[in-house]
């Protein structure tokens, strides 16, 4: 269970008082809680300093990594006509102002229209509504059902390896395949025909054939090797010219006699010869979800929407800073921050080009939820400020370097964060920093690792032991 400041303080107080806490205890819990805060701050600082700077000690890893669980985030509004924000707490004092971890402004509040009225900048949002999914078309005809390879005679001793070869025709092209089959580990049955079938089935070459040409294969009750196309979706396929060591059946070279039998069956083929896809053009990239012929029976509009989000949302977020979500049959694409909006016309310069294409069965439409584009926010960007040493509004030491770096900088003075040479009208800053422990409310979870909890208690007890040893001055010196 997570601890709180009060819980740690009570524990210290109980130990210091030797059990129950009496009302006339010399030590007040508020005093202990203040000390708990100070102790936690000291531990954090020591931890970072030890890790980062004390090279040569056994515990040092010499890495200045600020752990995420020490960070506090604040959204701080900038006062009018100023270039600073005031932190609600003092950050912990660390070298290079590392107490301030990250300063970010999301977007500025420029946007005064010609009438002098500030325009509302909305995040642009578009919806893609899928109205028709992928159909399961049962029309079809007759074709080859499956092919079997049955061995009827076999040698009493198997060779270590056989070269298996055959031809596969997918109704358009003939592929000649051959691969080696090792019989090592497949001499379990006295039926060496079955042993060979097992060895073929488990060989890398056969498995590669199945994966590459979308084939399913099994060994039936008679011990025959069967092959078929998945979902019977390819018509006019054929499996022929099966040879062992380059020789046909009943050749004395390999000693096997086998037959290749064909069983007629029906095939199901989508009436559309194309795959079905939903393609979204966004900016200079396309994102799609595709249903290849033979991979499906039918796909509902909701499933397509969910599939698209599952496949593409993260990639789109990384590449375009947009959130992609689905609800039912609707995919929503929304800017995370106003960046200029979307525009279905790539020949217009405003907004990010967005358009959909739906080859195959799928029918979908794209519509605007907010305005197509918001030109006033076109050049918005998420700005991360880099720390620079504090040297006032003009830093003669680093000014030229700051200029050449092309970045924007902040510097820290007290609990104020100044943006260096900033004259933009920024609304607010997001600041992540290591705040002093006193900023954590009494009843909130106190973020301290379990092993440090004990250290805080031990240190405080030592402190109070010293206090108890000191002789209290009980004489009233004010009596005249």
């Amino acid at each position: 269970m997570a601890t709180t400041r009060k819980k740690i303080a009570e524990q210290v107080l109980r130990i210091v008082n030797g059990g129950n806490i009496s009302d006339d205890s010399h030590v007040d819990i508020r005093e202990v809680m203040a000390l708990v805060d100070q102790e936690r701050d000291a531990i954090i600082k020591r931890e970072i300093m030890t890790n980062a700077y004390s090279k040569g000690t056994a515990m040092s890893i010499a890495e200045a990594e600020i752990r995420g669980d020490w960070l506090t985030q604040e959204k701080l509004y900038m006062p009018e006509n100023s270039n600073y924000v005031v932190l609600n707490n003092m950050p912990i004092n660390l070298p290079n102002d590392m107490g301030i971890y990250r300063v970010e402004s999301v977007f500025n509040k420029y946007g005064i229209n010609p009438s002098g009225v500030r325009q509302t900048i909305n995040k642009d949002k578009v919806a893609i509504t899928i109205t028709t999914g992928v159909a399961h078309d049962t029309s079809g005809g007759t074709a080859l059902g499956f092919v079997g390879v049955a061995t009827t005679a076999y040698p009493s001793v198997l060779d270590n390896a056989y070269l298996i070869s055959f031809s596969w025709n997918d109704s358009v092209k003939t592929y000649k395949l051959s691969f080696n089959v090792s019989t090592e580990g497949y001499i379990n049955s006295s039926d060496n025909g079955l042993n060979l079938i097992n060895a073929i089935y488990n060989s890398a070459g056969w498995q590669n054939f199945l994966n590459t040409y979308n084939i399913m294969s099994w060994i039936d009750d008679a011990g025959d090797l069967r092959v078929d196309t998945k979902n019977h979706t390819t018509d006019q396929w054929s499996f022929s010219d099966f040879k062992i060591n380059g020789q046909v059946s009943a050749d004395s070279g390999h000693g096997f006699t086998y037959t290749v039998t064909e069983t007629p069956g029906s095939f199901i083929k989508d009436s559309s010869t194309e795959d079905s896809s939903l393609v979204v053009h966004l900016g200079n990239k396309t994102y799609s979800v595709d249903y290849a012929w033979g991979d499906y029976n039918s796909v509902s509009t909701e499933e397509i929407a969910q599939n698209f989000v599952t496949k593409n949302a993260n990639k789109m977020a990384m590449e375009h800073d947009v959130s992609v979500t689905s609800s039912g049959n609707v995919i929503t694409i929304e800017e995370v921050i106003p960046m200029g909006g979307f525009n279905p016309d790539q020949f217009q310069s405003v907004g990010k080009y967005i358009r959909i294409a739906t080859p195959g069965d799928i029918v979908a439409s794209i519509s605007q939820v907010s305005s197509w584009h918001t030109p006033i926010s076109r050049f918005n960007e998420r700005t991360i400020y880099t720390r620079m040493p504090s040297n006032g509004p003009h830093n003669p030491l680093y000014h030229k370097t700051a200029l050449m770096s092309g970045r924007k900088f902040f510097y820290l003075e007290g609990n104020k964060i100044y943006l260096y040479k900033n004259y933009e009208d920024i609304d607010y800053l997001d600041v992540h920093y290591i705040a002093t422990s006193s900023s954590i409310p009494n009843e909130d979870t106190y973020p301290v690792p379990a092993d440090y909890e004990k250290e805080i208690i031990t240190n405080l007890i030592q402190l109070f032991s010293l206090m108890k040893q000191a002789k209290e001055d009980l004489v009233n010196d004010n009596i005249g």
């Binding site: 090279k55 200045a64 290079n96 880099t386 720390r387 370097t401 970045r407």
Partner: protein, 243 residues
Amino acid sequence: MTAQFVTLDEVIQGLIVDEGKSSEHEYLRYFNIGLRGLKELNFDTVRQIKSVELQLDSKNTVTLPSDYVSYIKIGVADNNGNVSYMGLRENINFVPGTQSTTVQDNTENPPIFSYNNYDNSLWGRYGQGGGNNANGYYRENLDNRTIELSNSNGPIILEYVSDGSTGLTGIDIKVHAFAEEALRSFIYWKSVQRKRAINMNEKMAAKNEYYNQKRLSRARMQSFNKNEALQTSRKAFKQSPKI
């Protein structure tokens, strides 16, 4: 950004990751050191050479580009797409508008040469000697950041070593991929060089690493392929006297 170049920003971020830091608190300091490292590498390892055409001003001088460090070649463009060299003349006067106080004794054009012209002076004068340049002469004026010219009329072509950073900002400041690791090593070395808390071994290792990486990048930059070797070899074979 092409694979041939890496930005200084990327080099610094790589170093910060190398050091196991999770924030960019020392970025600006590293950037400052990186700019110096970039110059170091550009001077002799990467040799970022630029070529510009410069127009003469009314004082017969050209102003040097802001990123200019040293010239490689000064000349004029000819009709074949080549640059014809100009000559260095150390006695060009830097002070503009000065009045001549020399005695006009016509030493430049004594009568003896007047009778030895061939084809209206097109082929030079007999007995005058070599080392002259028909394209004009130059002298670099470091104080004014100009090149002073004489006997030159048109624009000149200047090939020079650039410092690789002046006038550029942000992602435009870049280093050749062969020198990326050398630059990163330079930044690390210089960042610890004057820190008293860092032990000498660490500093020496950082220094050695920089010079090793510099050697490596220098070797990579000076790659020489088979065709170039053959071309060089074949150029040396000729049946006429070698000039």
